[in-house]
C-alpha cells in the first residue's frame, strides 16, 4: 500500500497515532530526512526547540518496528539509524576530553538545522507552486499577432551605370550598322551583271579568275564571288551567250563571248 503524501498539506497527512500505521507508510517518505521531519512535527513543538535525543529515539523505534515487519528497508534509512544511534550515545555519555569529532551538540544542531532547512524549502516550494502560473492561472495573449517581414529590394544602379549602358549599346549598334558589309554574298544577279558587262565588249578567251580578282578586294569573299560567277557562267553557256573551256584539272577556266556565227568551236564544250 502506498500512502499518498500530499505535498500541499504535509502536516495534515492522516497517519493516526498507532505505530503500525506508520510502519506501512515507510515508503511514503522521501528519504530518512523526510521521515525525521515528520517525526519531529509529531513533537508538536517549534523545530528550533526540537529534542534531537527524543527524535533519535523515535526514529530508532520506528526503524526497529519497521524491520520487524519488513526486512528490506532502504540502506539510507539504516545508515541514518546507525548515525542517530551513535549521536544518541554521544549525547548521553560525557564528552571525551579530546577528539577529532565535532561536539555532539554541534552534530545535533546540524541535524536540526537540516530539518528546519528542508521544511523551509518545502514551504518555499509550496509558495512557488501557489503563485499564479502561466497557462494555469494567468494567460498571455492567445493570438499574438506575428510580425510580417516585408522583403524590400533596393536596386543598386548608379547614374554612371546607366550612362555607360546607354552609350555602350548605342555605340555598338551604330558602329555595327556602318561596318555591316554590303555584300557578304555576291548574288547571282550581281555576277550576271558583271559578266554581261565583261562580254559586252566582245571578249576573247579570258581566264575567269583573273577577271574576278578585280572584284575581290577582300580575300574572304573569294569563294562567294567564284561560286556565283561560275554558276552564272554556266547559265550563260546554256543560253549560248558565252563559251567556256578548261584545259585540264585545276587549270584556269577560260571564257569568251560567243561569236554571232553559228560555227561551233570543237573546244566549245564546257567542262565541269
Amino acid at each position: 500500500m502506498r500512502k499518498e503524501l500530499s505535498f500541499e498539506a504535509p502536516a495534515a497527512v492522516d497517519r493516526g497515532d498507532a505505530e503500525p500505521a506508520l510502519l506501512v507508510d515507510v515508503d511514503g517518505f522521501a528519504g530518512p530526512l523526510d521521515l525525521l521531519l515528520e517525526l519531529a512535527r509529531r513533537q508538536k513543538v517549534d523545530l528550533h526547540k526540537i529534542s534531537v535525543l527524543a527524535l533519535a529515539d523515535q526514529y530508532l523505534e520506528f526503524i526497529e518496528a519497521a524491520r520487524s515487519f519488513r526486512l528490506e528497508l532502504a540502506a539510507d534509512y539504516l545508515v541514518m539509524a546507525a548515525w542517530l544511534a551513535y549521536l544518541k550515545s554521544r549525547l548521553l555519555l560525557p564528552e571525551p576530553p579530546k577528539t577529532d569529532e565535532p561536539p555532539a551538540e554541534e552534530l545535533a544542531s546540524r541535524l536540526a538545522f537540516r530539518l528546519r532547512r528542508l521544511e523551509a524549502v518545502r514551504e518555499a516550494a509550496k509558495k512557488l507552486y501557489d503563485r499564479p502560473q502561466l497557462g494555469r492561472d494567468v494567460f498571455g495573449r492567445g493570438a499574438p499577432e506575428p510580425v510580417h517581414v516585408e522583403h524590400r529590394t533596393e536596386w543598386a544602379a548608379t547614374l554612371y551605370d546607366l550612362l555607360k549602358a546607354y552609350a555602350d549599346q548605342r555605340q555598338t549598334k551604330a558602329l555595327s550598322r556602318v561596318s555591316f558589309s554590303k555584300r557578304f554574298v555576291w548574288s547571282l544577279s550581281d555576277a550576271r551583271e558583271a559578266l554581261d558587262r565583261l562580254i559586252g565588249g566582245g571578249l576573247d578567251w579570258t581566264a575567269l579568275d583573273d577577271y574576278l580578282m578585280e572584284y575581290v578586294i577582300d580575300p574572304a569573299r573569294r569563294a562567294t564571288v567564284r561560286a556565283s560567277a561560275f554558276a552564272t557562267s554556266l547559265e550563260m553557256v546554256r543560253e549560248g551567250v558565252i563559251d567556256m573551256r578548261q584545259d585540264g584539272a585545276f587549270a584556269p577556266i577560260l571564257i569568251r563571248s560567243r561569236k554571232p556565227e553559228p560555227e561551233r568551236s570543237p573546244e566549245g564544250a564546257p567542262t565541269a
Binding site: 495573449r141 492567445g142 533596393e154 544602379a157 546607366l162 550612362l163 549602358a165 555605340q171 558602329l175
Partner: protein, 240 residues
C-alpha cells in the same frame, strides 16, 4: 493614482459592480483566446444578468483610442492592433540587388527615348526584349506605363518616374547628358557615324499628340504586355 484608475473608480460608482466585473472577465477571455470569440461563448462565461452586448460595446469604447482595439470579425470578437499602428508589425528586410545589364540598358533607352514602346526599345537595343525585363523595371518604380501610341496595335508607351529622377540624383530628365557630354565624359568614342544623335529626353507627363491615355487597369495591361513578350531563347538576361 493614475487618472485612468480614477476613471475606473468613478465608473464603479455609477455602474453596477457586476457589470464591471463582467467587462474584466470578457476582456481577459478575449485576450487569452487563440481565436475570435462569439458573443454566445462570452455570454456563457459571464454572470447571467449582464447583457454581453453591453459588455462588448463598453469594451469597444474603452479601447477605441488605444493601441489595441476590440474588433468584430465575421461575427466574432477579438483584440487587434489598431490599424494606424499596423506598421509596427511589419519589419522590412532590405536587400540590395544589382540590375541586370539588360534591365539597365532598357532603362537607359526608356529614359532617353521616352515615350517609347516595347518595339522601339527592341529596335534601339537591337535585341528582342526579354520577358520580365520591363516587368522588373516597373517593379523598381523607375519606369511607368504612360499611354498608348496611336499606331496600329496601340502599343503601350513607357516613360520614367520621379522615383527614377530621385534615385539617379537628377533634377529633371533633360539633365541626362547629350551626345557631346557623353563624348566628353568618354562614354562614347570618336568612331561614331555621322548623324549619330542622342535625343533630348523629356518626361513631361502630358501625353504627346500621338499618345492615347491608358484606359484599362494596370493589371490587365501588364498581363497583356507579358503575353505579347517574346520568350527569347537567347535572353539578353543571359548576355553576360
Amino acid at each position: 493614482m493614475s487618472r485612468a484608475f480614477a476613471a475606473e473608480r468613478q465608473r464603479s460608482i455609477s455602474e453596477p459592480k457586476a457589470f464591471l466585473e463582467a467587462c474584466r472577465v470578457a476582456e481577459a477571455l478575449l485576450f487569452a483566446a487563440a481565436e475570435p470569440l462569439d458573443a454566445d461563448t462570452l455570454a456563457s462565461r459571464l454572470p447571467r444578468d449582464v447583457p454581453v452586448a453591453d459588455v462588448l460595446v463598453q469594451l469597444r469604447e474603452d479601447y477605441a483610442d488605444r493601441g489595441v482595439q476590440l474588433v468584430e470579425v465575421a461575427g466574432r470578437w477579438t483584440f487587434r492592433t489598431a490599424e494606424d499602428l499596423s506598421y509596427l508589425l511589419a519589419r522590412e528586410a532590405q536587400e540590395t540587388r544589382k540590375l541586370s545589364r539588360a534591365a539597365l540598358e532598357t532603362l537607359a533607352v526608356v529614359a532617353y527615348h521616352q515615350p517609347v514602346t516595347r518595339a522601339e526599345i527592341e529596335d534601339i537595343r537591337g535585341v528582342s526584349a526579354h520577358r520580365g525585363t520591363l516587368d522588373a523595371l516597373l517593379e523598381t518604380g523607375w519606369i511607368r506605363l504612360r499611354g498608348r501610341r496611336r499606331t496600329p496595335g496601340r502599343p503601350v508607351t513607357y516613360g520614367t518616374t520621379e522615383a527614377f529622377l530621385s534615385h539617379f540624383g537628377l533634377s529633371a530628365v533633360d539633365d541626362l547628358p547629350g551626345v557631346d557630354e557623353l563624348k566628353g565624359a568618354g562614354f562614347l568614342d570618336g568612331r561614331l557615324p555621322a548623324g549619330f544623335t542622342v535625343p533630348v529626353p523629356s518626361d513631361d507627363p502630358t501625353l504627346r499628340s500621338d499618345e492615347d491615355p491608358l484606359d484599362e487597369d494596370l493589371f490587365t495591361l501588364i498581363a497583356e504586355e507579358k503575353a505579347s513578350a517574346v520568350e527569347d531563347p537567347l535572353g539578353d538576361e543571359d548576355e553576360r
